[in-house]
């Protein structure tokens, strides 16, 4: 045990990532640095080509930075994708049980935990449903439950609500906020929707594109619970949108 209490759950320091070599070299990330405190909700906001998927891949441990370092202090990182990515041959319960199966959790324990997690995302009793029998919003909640089944302390979410209709997305914002508060996980939430970022985040990391760099970090000092159509949310969103547009228009020439 270290004597110093680490106030950071995630430390990303000078991370760069390049793919290929020579004339085909593509730099996805360039010197990206920011931290997240334990239990903090950080939104990563950026247009196409900001290297967000690369960054999440590095955080999840399936990719390595070309230089720089990522430190999660030995915490477990769970990942949730835009497309719910449920395995179509498994039931909702089977999907949630999968990460536990991979870790070797005994069957009886898996079943108990699946029921708990389904209740958490308000889908109790639907363990035997197949993904195709569920709506888009329900699939994303199963996917969220599955991410929690990884018993992760850090949740990486890659535009998880991007493909949902506005009403469902709005309801799932409430749900995610509730679950985040109840569990105290650290969330890194990637989105290209500025209002969504302001609705959810404690802080917003604005990324520029090609290569991905940290353009600016905003503190969202708005009291929770927030509403996506509240005036102060809209005001901050307008400021950030203006900044994002300025970043994007650099690429037009």
């Amino acid at each position: 045990m270290t004597a110093v209490i680490d106030t950071r759950a995630v430390r990303i320091a000078g991370v760069s990532r390049t793919f290929g070599s020579g004339p085909h070299r593509v730099q996805a990330l360039d010197d990206v640095s920011f931290d997240a405190r334990p239990g903090e909700f950080v939104c990563l906001l950026g247009a196409s080509g900001c290297g967000k998927s690369t960054l999440l891949g590095i955080l999840a441990g399936i990719d390595r930075p070309s230089s720089g370092m990522v430190d999660v202090g030995g915490r477990r990182v769970g990942m949730m994708f835009q497309d719910s990515a449920l395995l179509p041959w498994l039931t909702a319960g089977g999907n949630i049980a999968l990460p536990m199966k991979i870790r070797g959790v005994p069957r009886a324990d898996r079943r108990v935990r699946v029921d708990e997690l389904l209740t958490m995302v308000r889908l109790a009793g639907l363990a035997d449903k197949r993904p195709h029998e569920l709506s888009g919003g329900m699939r994303q909640r199963v996917s969220l439950a599955r991410t929690f089944a990884q018993e992760a302390d850090i949740l990486c979410m890659d535009e998880p609500f991007g493909a949902l209709d506005a009403m469902t997305r709005d309801l799932l914002h409430d749900e995610l906020e509730r679950i985040w508060r109840e569990t105290g996980v650290t969330v890194l939430f990637v989105t290209h929707d500025v209002r969504e970022a302001v609705r959810l985040g404690d802080r917003i990391v604005l990324l520029s594109s090609r290569p991905g760099r940290v353009a600016e970090i905003f503190d969202v000092g708005i009291d929770r619970p927030r509403r996506i159509d509240a005036p102060d949310v809209a005001a901050l969103a307008a400021t950030i949108t203006a900044r994002l547009r300025a970043e994007v228009s650099r690429h037009g020439h």
């Binding site: 769970g78 990942m79 498994l90 958490m120 929690f148 990884q150 302390d153 996980v185």
Partner: protein
């Protein structure tokens, strides 16, 4: 560390804390999941059966019409009125079932061996890029080679024995199985592999829990095609390689031809066709069940 995120039972009451979110979410869920009314089993079976029966009836009628036109004398082309009773006589005889058993045994042993070899080769080729470059295209070339061209070599190698037939059946079926495995693995969505990896699955675990089930539809298609090739090779083999004292469906067919028994020839062919239909039905059942589970049947969309 991991226990930090475990949700205590008191936070899990969920619906007890009814909010407007809760109600709205429940309403949306109810609106968006409409269970399709299931039809009774008897009705489903009938609607699957009658088109087949009608097709058989039309085929028999056309056949009978050709016979009635007098295009060929009936001792060369007998009608269904002669061939079907002949088949009926055979089915109740012990000789028929001995020949049937021999043929099916050859088919299953050859097919099982082909599946084993095809799976191993398919896995190896999909895994190692060098191997794919080296032999990947040869597998398809091998598959397109008519099985009959293998027989001269097979007979030289094994003479008129069971071995010669087995050799050709395996060569006929294994490439299809291998190709099914290769394309199955090639077409696994990268997202699913990435998903498995972020959950910590590596190596064999990743294959067992994610890659293999994702590749299954294509593998089943390969198995089905492999069976078709095995069956063709086997029939060619039984006509050409008549192992003394080992009667089979193919050797019965060849015998009937040599004794100019047209009804016997047609009865044997009907048997071969019927086996094809039954095996196809078995594969279709497996395929349909797999698609139903994954929500891929036409009646499940929309």
């Amino acid at each position: 560390m991991a226990t930090d995120t475990t949700i205590g039972p008191d936070t899990l009451r969920g619906p007890a804390t009814t909010t407007s979110t809760d109600a709205a979410l429940a309403g949306l869920d109810a609106l968006e999941t409409v269970a399709a009314p299931g039809r009774p089993l008897a009705l489903r079976m009938w609607s699957a059966t009658w088109p087949k029966l009608a097709a058989v009836a039309i085929f028999l009628l056309l056949w009978q019409i050709v016979v009635w036109t007098g295009w060929k004398p009936t001792y060369v082309l007998p009608g269904p009125d002669e061939a079907l009773p002949e088949l009926g006589h055979r089915v109740v005889s012990g000789d028929f079932w001995a020949a049937f058993a021999r043929t099916m045994q050859r088919a299953f042993v050859g097919y099982a061996l082909a599946v084993l070899i095809g799976a191993v080769v398919g896995l190896a080729v999909s895994r190692f890029a060098l191997l794919r470059t080296a032999v990947g295209s040869f597998i398809t070339a091998l598959q397109t080679m008519p099985s009959i061209v293998w027989f001269p070599l097979a007979i030289l190698l094994f003479r008129l024995t069971e071995g010669a037939i087995l050799f050709v059946v395996v060569l006929g079926a294994a490439p299809s199985v291998a190709n099914g495995v290769i394309s199955g693995i090639d077409y696994v969505p990268p997202l699913l592999t990435r998903l498995g990896q972020t959950m910590g699955a590596r190596g064999l675990k990743l294959y067992r829990l994610v890659v293999a089930p994702a590749a299954l539809p294509s593998v089943v298609a390969g198995l089905k095609q492999g069976w078709a090739f095995a069956w063709r090779s086997l029939m060619a083999g039984e006509l050409l390689v008549i192992v003394p004292g080992h009667p089979s469906i193919g050797s019965d067919l060849e015998n009937s031809r040599q004794f100019l028994e047209a009804t016997g020839v047609i009865a044997s062919m009907l048997t071969i066709f019927a086996i094809g239909v039954l095996v196809d039905a078995a594969f279709n059942t497996v395929d349909r069940r797999m698609r139903a589970r994954r929500g891929l049947l036409p009646e499940q969309s929309g």
